[in-house]
């Protein structure tokens, strides 16, 4: 009925600063099981009734946490990712923005070694509407439903979700994979899971300029995916060589252009819309 997270998911929060606390509270109000917090030096205390531990290993041993939600500041975030991975947490959601790329390269090699899945960094997180919100997205715009959403962008995802909810389609699970050049799960990894999920009848995929993740997704869709996909690629009007906010959103050396991505996706049978306002209506037509 969803992928990666559900009502049973038990979350440990790393990084209980003001932003971490605010969002952890929002997640809990949504119904997410926040079972532990980790703050080195504060082990044995509690935060709003949630036990706080010195290490993720302690938190996992005591609470059975199976998902880490990371708000740790950028200079220390890669360390937090590694800590969760080595503690045996199977799914890590990293919200932190601005992590140095080479730190992420190191963190990624740890994730590979431990077989840990990661969403992010620099992303809104993941939500299975009505069951679990593990991230910073506004919960109320989501409705339980049958469309999977994967996106490199935050607010543009909310836009798509809003349109899907307004059309009564709802969402099975929404994943913000983030806009950084080195990241955890990519489009293909998410598509593989949506392909196997019976509750998901269609997928909205929101890409942006830079890199080749959309082209790789197009190749995978063409070969494996039977479900309809609607896509928008942000940045068709962005000039080459200028970074558009996200560290990964740059057209460099003739690659990463929106038009190339759109073409690859269209060739794979994906319905590509040129206006982000058309995502919801296009999906409604596809799954009617």
């Amino acid at each position: 009925m969803s992928i990666l997270v559900g009502a049973e998911t038990r979350v440990v929060v790393q990084g209980l600063g003001s932003a971490g606390q605010f969002h952890a509270r929002q997640c809990r109000e949504y119904g997410t099981k926040i079972v532990a917090g980790v703050k080195p030096g504060a082990g044995g205390t509690s935060w709003e009734g949630v036990p706080v531990f010195d290490t993720v290993r302690d938190a996992r041993a005591a609470t059975g946490a199976d998902c880490a939600l990371i708000f740790v500041p950028a200079p220390f975030a890669a360390d937090a990712i590694g800590e969760s991975a080595f503690a045996g947490i199977p799914l890590v959601v990293t919200i932190t923005e601005g992590i140095p790329t080479l730190d992420m390269v190191r963190a990624k090699s740890i994730l590979k070694e431990t077989g840990t899945r990661m969403i992010g960094p620099n992303c809104p997180g993941i939500i299975t509407p009505g069951a679990a919100k593990i991230g910073i997205m506004p919960g109320y715009i989501h409705k339980p439903g049958k469309i999977g959403v994967i996106s490199r962008s935050g607010t543009l995802t909310y836009e798509a979700v809003w349109q899907l909810s307004a059309r009564g389609l709802g969402q099975s699970t929404c994943i913000g994979i983030g806009g950084d050049p080195v990241q955890g799960m990519n489009f293909v990894a998410c598509l593989e899971l949506f392909a196997k999920d019976d509750a998901t009848v269609g997928v909205v995929m929101i890409g942006e300029i830079g890199g080749s993740a959309e082209e790789e997704a197009a190749a995978w869709i063409r070969a494996h995916l039977k479900k309809p996909v609607v896509s928008f690629i942000a940045g068709a009007t962005a000039p080459a060589g200028k970074r558009m906010g996200h560290a990964g959103a740059i057209i460099a050396g003739g690659s990463g252009k929106a038009e190339d991505k759109k073409r690859a996706l269209r060739d794979a049978g994906v319905r590509v819309v040129d206006s982000p306002a058309d995502l919801g209506s296009a999906m409604a037509e596809m799954v009617r």
Binding site: P100, L102, T155
Partner: protein
């Protein structure tokens, strides 16, 4: 973050990567003295700007005498150089690098960049240099993944050196150079380190004739010395001003100013404006927590762009509440004495209260029902 060629060569030298002898010059007199000091019959006068394509644009000139070097300096210093990377407005040349001329036997290419597909840095090299690397077919590129934090392994460095056609002592020198480049890339948190061309000299030496380094902005906190290499003259003043307020701003050629929260939605807003026949004047991401101060500053930056004929605000208030954003917009409109039409599209938490605030303000603000409506209204207003 970009730095100048001469600065990159300074870092190369420290890292043990051979570069030509050269002297940085700020004046015509400096160039005359530099020519003598270098003592080579031929010298190269190179304009220092943060953009590629200098050679084709006349920014790199050979001098066979002191007089010639001085003449080049007079022509270049203070001039505006337009290359395919600077845009039509070009860049003002304030610094020159004067280097010894060298007898080149062969030009190659080497660069290290982050390969997103692999999720790590990769060395890319080609035995044809001095050209646009993008124009080379994939099969001509030599690629080696770089382990972090180990760097390039000796077998990888050797393989690339041989692949470039280097032999004997030159191959060893080439391998050492590439190893040092990888070490520098990892030690200084580069995002790109490029040598184009990497040259084999007639005497067998291998060196970096050009040097380009880009740094990961997110890692500058641990490289204070690198951060000081920043050249404010090379930065777009509006973009630098925006950066001070944590706003991500890029100026563009159109006439519809945009203020959006989130990079993806900001790009999407630019796209939808164009989709409806308009042209965005900028990319501007006010970030998730669009505070009154940031919204006001963002407005000020947009209003200072003389090309702006209309402004489109597109905010999806998720965590940030729409009524707070509306208050920010109203405050900013009053503070900036806005003179162009303003279209606002708000969606999300407390949207009704936000829209009511805008409607009841008595200010000339058009509200829009959705993104399409907003884009159409803004395009119409800018006509």
């Amino acid at each position: 973050m970009n730095i100048h060629e001469y600065q990159a060569k300074g870092l190369f030298r420290e890292a043990g990567i051979p570069v030509p002898r050269g002297i940085v010059c700020r004046s015509v007199d400096d160039v005359g003295r530099a020519y003598h000091e270098l003592g080579s019959a031929v010298a190269v006068v190179k304009a220092q700007i943060h953009a590629g394509g200098r050679g084709k644009a006349g920014g790199v000139r050979l001098a066979k005498s002191r007089d010639e070097a001085v003449a080049h300096a007079k022509a270049l210093l203070g001039s505006t150089l337009v290359t395919h990377q600077t845009g039509p407005e070009g860049r003002r040349v304030g610094l020159l690098l004067v280097e010894e001329g060298l007898k080149i036997a062969k030009e190659c290419y080497a660069a290290i960049a982050i390969d997103r597909r692999r999720g790590g840095p990769t060395l890319i090299a080609a035995s044809e240099g001095g050209v646009e690397i993008e124009s080379l077919p994939q099969e001509k590129l030599l690629k080696e993944p770089i382990a972090v934090p180990d760097g390039l392994f000796p077998f990888q460095a050797r393989a690339v050196a041989y692949g470039l056609g280097l032999k004997g002592d030159s191959a060893r020198a080439g391998a050492d150079l590439l190893t040092a480049l990888a070490r520098l890339f990892l030690a200084k948190d580069c995002s790109i380190a490029e040598i184009n061309p990497l040259v084999l000299l007639e005497d067998g030496r291998v060196l970096a004739l050009d040097a380009k380094i880009n740094f990961d902005e997110n890692a500058l906190f641990r490289h204070p010395r690198i951060d000081q290499l920043r050249d404010p003259a090379e930065e777009d003043p509006a973009e630098a001003r925006a950066a001070k307020f944590n706003l991500s701003y890029v100026s563009l050629d159109g006439n519809i100013g945009c203020m959006v929260n989130g990079a993806g939605l900001a790009m999407g807003t630019m796209d939808i404006i164009q989709h409806h026949g308009g042209a965005p004047a900028n990319f501007l991401d006010v970030g998730g927590g669009a505070s009154v101060e940031r919204v006001t500053e963002a407005f000020q930056i947009i209003c200072d762009d003389e090309n702006v004929r209309a402004i489109l605000v597109n905010i999806f208030g998720g965590i940030v509440k729409c009524d707070l954003i509306a208050e920010g917009i109203l405050g900013a409109v009053k503070a900036t004495k806005l003179k162009v039409p303003l279209v606002v599209r708000l969606e999300g938490t407390n949207v009704e209260r936000g829209r009511a605030l805008l409607r009841d303000s008595g200010l000339p603000i058009q509200t829009a029902a959705d993104m399409t409506d907003a884009a159409k209204k803004a395009v119409e207003a800018a006509r």
